[in-house]
Amino acid sequence: MNHREAESLLPWLAAGTLEAVETLAVEAHVADCEQCTVELLELGNLHEAVAAVPFSVPVILLRPTRAR
């Protein structure tokens, strides 16, 4: 896998949603690529921040609406 392909898949490597074959290929590239290593760290922070957005789940979701 070349740099461009690997870089384009980094977000899904950070999110843990790449398929196994792609995961191995991207990880192999990252191991030898300083730029991708830094980007992967940044994307890890992005993942954490996006996932941490606070929400209060509306009461409505605790009481399912009856199908009409």
């Binding site: 384009s8 898949l9 977000p11 899904w12 950070a14 999110a15 843990g16 949603t17 790449l18 398929e19 830094v38 760290l41 940044e42 994307l43 922070n45 992005l46 993942h47 954490e48 921040a49 996006v50 996932a51 941490a52 957005v53 606070p54 929400f55 209060s56 789940v57 509306p58 409505i60 979701l61 399912p64 609406t65 009856r66 199908a67 009409r68």
Partner: protein, 201 residues
């Protein structure tokens, strides 16, 4: 993966039961997906009451169209696709250039926060800035970020949800990342270590 993904086969079976008019199955589906649908709708709409309306509309669409679901995608992909469609319809004509991050109360244990100290406050501040930066992205770009990092979707699933080629998903992600880097270099890393001047505001 952020959320615990239900077993796909079980979900397909659940939708099949919904298609026969099984209300118990519908309630189970609502319990499993209602919160995900609401969160995704809220991220597109930034309005709790309207996101609730969209959530109910989505589940009604699921109820009405369950028989049409052919199982060619994951149930989550199908439901999030419906959510996106209805949420974007709901915001059509409404300019969403800001996001109120205080819209919902923050779920933070005060005692835990005190223990975390200044470092945690700093990280929380960066998260707040990042969330504000996300609000500056176009809907297409924010969508791919949020489906990836919040909904835990693969790029293939995102392509199915937003109905575009997989390469378009990757391209949108690339531009979204570059835009975010311009707003907030490093997403909280030590920006100085990489030649940046600091966190933009």
């Amino acid at each position: 993966m952020v959320d615990t993904e239900p077993v796909p086969d079980a979900d397909i079976e659940l939708v099949a039961r919904v298609a026969t008019g099984d209300k118990q199955a519908f309630e189970t589906l609502f319990t499993d997906y209602g919160e995900r649908v609401f969160r995704y709708a809220h991220r597109l709409i930034h309005d709790v009451p309207r996101a609730e309306e969209v959530t109910n509309d989505v589940m009604i669409e699921v109820w009405k169209n369950a028989a049409k679901f052919e199982g060619r995608s994951k149930v989550s992909t199908w439901i999030l696709g419906i959510t996106r469609h209805l949420a974007l319809n709901a915001v059509r004509g409404k300019k969403l250039d800001t996001v109120d991050v205080d819209l919902a109360p923050e779920i933070v244990d005060p005692s835990e926060r005190a223990e975390q100290g200044a470092l945690a406050d700093e990280r929380e501040g960066l998260k707040q800035k990042l969330r504000a930066a996300l609000a500056e992205l176009s809907t297409d770009h924010r969508d791919v970020i949020e489906l990836t990092f919040f909904q835990g979707c693969s790029y293939q699933e995102i392509a199915a949800i937003v109905d575009c080629p997989e390469n378009t998903v990757k391209t949108r992600m690339y531009h979204a990342r570059k835009q975010l880097q311009g707003i907030l270099p490093g997403f909280g890393l030590d920006a100085g270590a990489y030649g940046a001047e600091g966190v933009a505001t």
